[in-house]
Symmetry: C2
């Protein structure tokens, strides 16, 4: 009937108000929300009976669910999604939260990796969820220059300067003595054939050419190639979690050992979550609620994350993982505050010479 279809098509303002109230109450308490509780809400000037009717329709429309007949309602994933997309309001950071955030942001700048990790830890502390920090590694690396340095009769240092501002050094020990002249030959051969080459494009003919060019140093070429491959194989995005123990605050996890174990495994495997984050948008706050996650173990959890950009390139990402019943306003506000300011800081770092002592611009090669 046209009445039904109309009724179930679009949310009236009153329905939105009630849905919002249900969700926020549930997020706070974790309990199903009944009609009676909502009558205490100042915004809703309705009797419990009217609210009951509205909630029944909201359930019919798929925004709410009932754990069992005599319980209140809890939000469905669709409910959370709608809340996140259109209902929720900005959270106002408290003075103490702001001061914690700013003490992180105004602190001594060191390597970006460290900042990202620290930011994730602040995130966990402020939101009370498990936080994550990702430091991305470029998948395309071009060799810019090789440099060698003799350390001893059997040892030399190989320095590889690549695009992506990463420098790799490797301490190589040989089983034949090496001398300075040999290293010169090696260096020359490497620089002649490998400069500007993508690491993944190294071919066997190139290696053979280099061995010829290296002359007496030919046996060393293989060592170097091996180092190069080791280097790329280490270039996986790195992820770290902070505040894993905080999951236990939420009955969603502490009452469900299986789920908890799944989460711990997920955190140890790392891979799945890296993939989730890698698949996200770079220009927005990503929120995946429950089964919106393709990963099975995340089916009853929510992940919220955002990429930190510096001059158009991602330099990291932070986020939180917790129950679907998550304090979205607070999480999103905190996350955007942090990533916004970190993006600015990182951009300045890369863009211009800072009029500070060089620490702001240093960038070491630790992985």
């Amino acid at each position: 009937m046209s009445l039904d279809s109309e009724r179930l098509q679009k949310l009236t303002d009153r329905k939105k108000l009630i849905l919002k109230a249900v969700i926020e109450a549930h997020i706070e308490t974790g309990e199903p929300v009944g009609s009676k509780l909502l009558t205490t809400n100042k915004q809703i000037m309705l009797s419990s009976a009217t609210i009951r009717n509205e909630m029944a329709e909201l359930e019919e429309m798929g925004y709410l669910e009932q754990p069992h007949t005599s319980a209140g309602r809890i939000p469905s994933e669709k409910g959370y999604r709608f809340y996140v997309d259109t209902l929720m309001e900005d959270y106002q950071l408290t003075a103490s939260e702001l001061s914690l955030l700013n003490s992180l942001l105004s602190g001594r700048l060191s390597a970006m990796d460290k900042i990202v990790e620290k930011a994730s830890s602040v995130m966990a502390a402020l939101t009370n969820y498990t936080s994550l920090a990702i430091r991305p590694r470029p998948k395309k690396v071009v060799i810019l220059r090789f440099k060698t340095l003799l350390l001893g009769d059997y040892d030399f240092l190989l320095i590889m300067i690549t695009s992506s501002s990463v420098v790799n050094t490797k301490n190589i020990r040989t089983h034949q003595p090496v001398d300075a002249r040999q290293l010169e030959l090696l260096e020359a051969a490497l620089n002649r054939f490998m400069c500007g080459v993508d690491i993944n494009d190294i071919t066997l003919p190139m290696i053979m050419q280099m061995e010829i060019a290296a002359g007496r140093a030919a046996p060393l070429v293989n060592f170097v190639i091996k180092c190069v491959y080791d280097f790329v194989s280490e270039l996986n995005d790195e992820i770290d979690f902070d505040g894993v123990n905080r999951l236990l605050q939420y009955p969603e996890y502490s009452d469900d050992m299986e789920l908890l174990r799944d989460m711990l495994r997920l955190f140890e495997r790392k891979e799945d979550i890296i993939n989730i984050v890698a698949g996200g948008r770079r220009d927005a706050t990503n929120i995946y609620i429950g089964s919106e996650n393709r990963v099975d173990e995340m089916k009853s959890s929510t992940i919220v994350f955002k990429t930190i950009m510096a001059r158009g390139r991602p330099v990291g990402a932070i986020g939180v993982i917790g129950p679907c019943r998550m304090d979205y306003p607070k999480v999103v506000t905190t996350l955007e505050y942090l990533t916004g300011h970190l993006s600015d800081i990182a951009s300045e770092n890369v863009a211009a010479r800072l009029p500070l002592p060089g620490d702001g611009g240093t960038d070491n090669n630790e992985k």
Copy 2:
């Protein structure tokens, strides 16, 4: 009475046999062990009544405990301690366990840090407890040589070669242009005053002397000193845990959220466990049972660990953490097998040139 004191002084062989049986049964099942169960043990040819009497005395002596009157007995910490010290027998590794261990040990050798981490993961898989891997960092670092490398108008690379086979490189960005001549001056000044110096012994006068010696490159000296200090401050022992989720297999943890949370926090803090391991003996398998741990959160857990030594110096440590009711024979055997072989491998690596391609001897500077 003399009879009592005699009775309670030393364990008869029969008491030892019963104690051992109780402990092993409890380790396996996690349940309190009753006298009846022990009559099924082929080694013990006694009636349940006799066993009861013996168990009562073992309890009086402090080796066993009774959760409540009508339950069987569980081992006390003193009981576990005695078991570990004198009762337990060697565990025989199964063929599949051996093959897993050996596939790790005979695999391609790469950086020691990686091997230790992998070993820890194997440890977790074989024993079903949470495992830990520690890579120690030397606290005394002596500078051997500095080397610089010009990268661009505003960038240069600082290479610091230190004792302890660690090379540190730092990509420094300046706010004033630098040229090759300046770097030469810098390098000469650094090498003249800092070679052979312990990093912790750098004094202000030395810095001032260097600035004078560096001439036009004086402003760069401060950058370098800062890098040096950053470098030492990063030299903390590193620890990683594997198989944290395995704790949930044991009711000791899965039935006690508080304890579980304490453990997760411990794993995130890292510090406490690093300290425990740092305080252990280097030449033995260390076993700390329950309250033998000074750390409060470990009061109901056991940690077993052993250091991997290469030519007299520790190059890492691995171990496991689990309930006091731990399969000590299996853990100890596996741990000693691994650390023994790893020590050999590491010693060879450092000691002699291997007749292999250089990979066995490479040693990169990733932290």
